[in-house]
């Protein structure tokens, strides 16, 4: 009982700290972010931010070299850069640099796809229901969403959407090895492969423990990898790094778990 209270307290503080700098709902999707850091292009040359401007949003492309604002786009309504984990990791920019996604969460979720080079609106997608952003495929043609199935924010599923027609693919993206296991937990931190074909997210389970959600962003496949042995009150400090076919989970400069990214075998 005491452990449960401590765990709940640790997570509450963690989530509250993250939410202080962002706008969005607690739960499996951190929501959206206004202002910096925004999301940075793969080559590191451009930073994209969304800033609240009255009842609208100004999306900006800012040079990281000299801080000049190269392009802006005003959108009616509040749209933010997607947060993908509570450590402040952001997403929404396709690896090929040809799509930027901003969205407005709520009971109706509105997505706006922009061309990062011009910030022109490519398309808009409106979904009935609460869909948080999860990831983009490298070419931006597939978007992965966190669908909150209930108001509690505990019960959710990962869905894939075809950006070209704005339609969801049938069924949820589940680990086929455990298709009946319900997704629960909150995303702690995220790292992606260099080619953006994999998104690895460390989740803290609501009932305790941790797992890494490995999402193959081109194949619409996912794998859940349990990571035992990390104390719940330490999870918020864990960061991940990819190195030579391994996903390293690091805590205060020390590797606490290593996951083989081919076999998903976990070593401590």
């Amino acid at each position: 009982m005491r452990d449960d209270v401590m765990r709940a307290l640790a997570l509450a503080v963690f989530v509250a700290a993250i939410l202080a700098g962002s706008a969005g709902a607690a739960g499996p999707s951190p929501g959206i972010a206004f202002g910096s850091p925004g999301v940075v292009s793969h080559d590191g040359k451009m930073r994209y931010v969304a800033l609240r401007a009255g009842r609208g949003t100004l999306v900006e492309a800012i040079s990281t070299r000299d801080g000049t604002v190269r392009r802006t786009r005003f959108l009616k309504g509040l749209y933010g850069v997607p947060l993908v984990a509570y450590d402040g990791s952001t997403g929404g920019l396709a690896r090929n640099g040809k799509r930027l996604v901003v969205y407005s969460p709520g009971s109706v979720t509105r997505y706006v796809m922009l061309d990062p080079r011009s910030l022109r609106v490519q398309s808009r997608i409106v979904l009935n229901g609460n869909y948080g952003f999860d990831a983009l495929s490298p070419d931006g043609s597939l978007m992965y969403l966190i669908h909150l199935k209930s108001g509690t924010g505990i019960d959710y599923e990962v869905r894939a959407l075809d950006v070209s027609n704005g339609r969801l693919f049938p069924g949820a993206i589940v680990d086929r090895r455990e298709p009946d296991e319900k997704m629960t937990g909150i995303p702690v931190t995220r790292v992606g492969s260099t080619d953006a074909s994999w998104a690895y997210t460390l989740y803290s389970r609501s009932q305790g423990g941790a797992f890494v959600h490995a999402l193959h962003t081109t194949a619409r496949e996912a794998f859940c990898i349990d990571v035992p042995g990390i104390a719940d009150d330490q999870l918020s400090h864990v960061r991940m790094r990819l190195a030579k076919g391994s996903l390293l989970l690091r805590l205060r400069g020390r590797t606490v778990a290593t996951i083989d990214t081919r076999t998903f075998e976990v070593k401590r």
């Binding site: 401007a53 009255g54 990281t64 801080g67 604002v69 005003f74």
Partner: protein, 270 residues
């Protein structure tokens, strides 16, 4: 015809630098980059058009992170003070900023902001068409250009005025060269440089007339106009830059010093 081409060239350069408003003796406020740069703190201040709002933001020069931002109702921009893109509106110590509304309206508005918080410290609303010219080093005095002709007319007469930000009032009279108090000011600002102790040197072009340097002492509210000897300079004067070196103001063109002005005696030499 040549004169028109030169004017168009200058206006073209100005338009390429940023989105600005106004014409005549001042380029007016601007939106977007380059904005104002506080080199000491590594911060770029930008005003952006956010629909019916103006977005003002502080962006880190290295890395491009938005350090802070806010919105103001209405349209305000950071003042451009010469058609080569020279900007004004940031005090020497980087603590205060001035935003100006567009020209060509019944009234012109100015905001004095604390740059660290974007808190509005003071507002000024002046009847007629005005534009920003300079700030004193501590930001307490704002120098303005009061349009005496049509807002967008080129080569129109104007007056330099000073406003006390502590009282929000204009000082009586205009800032003139007391050696030639009756000479009407006109011309277009080509380029600007300044000094830490509050001198603003502006090169003005006057189509068909000799260019001149306007030396404004922003601490003591006095100005001097120094005529330059080049009567037929319309074709090249827009490429001249100013540089302060010790007690000398250098006028440079193509990397070469073409004239020197003694900052104390205002004497010109080659």
């Amino acid at each position: 015809m040549r004169r028109a081409l030169v004017v168009l060239t200058i206006l073209g350069v100005w338009a390429a630098v940023a989105t600005a408003d106004g014409g005549g003796p001042s380029p007016g406020p601007t939106w977007g980059s380059p904005g104002l740069v506080d080199h000491l703190r590594g911060i770029r201040y930008l005003a952006l058009d956010g629909g019916t709002m103006t977005m003002v933001e502080a962006v880190e020069v290295h890395g491009g992170k938005v350090a802070r931002w806010t919105n103001f109702r209405g349209r305000y921009g950071f003042p451009m003070v010469a058609f080569d893109g020279s900007m004004g509106g940031l005090t020497r110590d980087g603590t205060h900023l001035v935003l100006a509304s567009p020209q060509g309206q019944k009234s012109t508005r100015f905001l004095l902001l604390e740059s660290g918080t974007f808190k509005v410290l003071a507002r000024a609303r002046l009847r007629g068409t005005w534009s920003f010219d300079a700030l004193s080093p501590d930001g307490s005095t704002m120098f303005l250009i009061q349009y005496l002709g049509q807002p967008f007319a080129v080569n129109q007469p104007y007056a330099v005025r000073a406003l006390n930000w502590d009282t929000g009032r204009l000082y009586p009279g205009s800032i003139v060269d007391r050696r030639e108090p009756d000479e009407k000011m006109n011309g277009m600002p080509v380029t600007r440089t300044g000094t830490a102790n509050g001198w603003a040197y502006t090169l003005y072009q006057r189509p068909g007339k000799r260019p001149f340097v306007h030396a404004l002492d922003t601490v003591h509210r006095r100005a001097f106009c120094v005529d330059l000897p080049w009567r037929h300079s319309d074709q090249w004067i827009s490429s001249v830059k100013l540089r302060v070196r010790g007690g000398t103001l250098e006028l440079r063109n193509g990397g070469r010093t073409i004239a020197r002005m003694d900052r104390k005696t205002l004497a010109l030499s080659r």
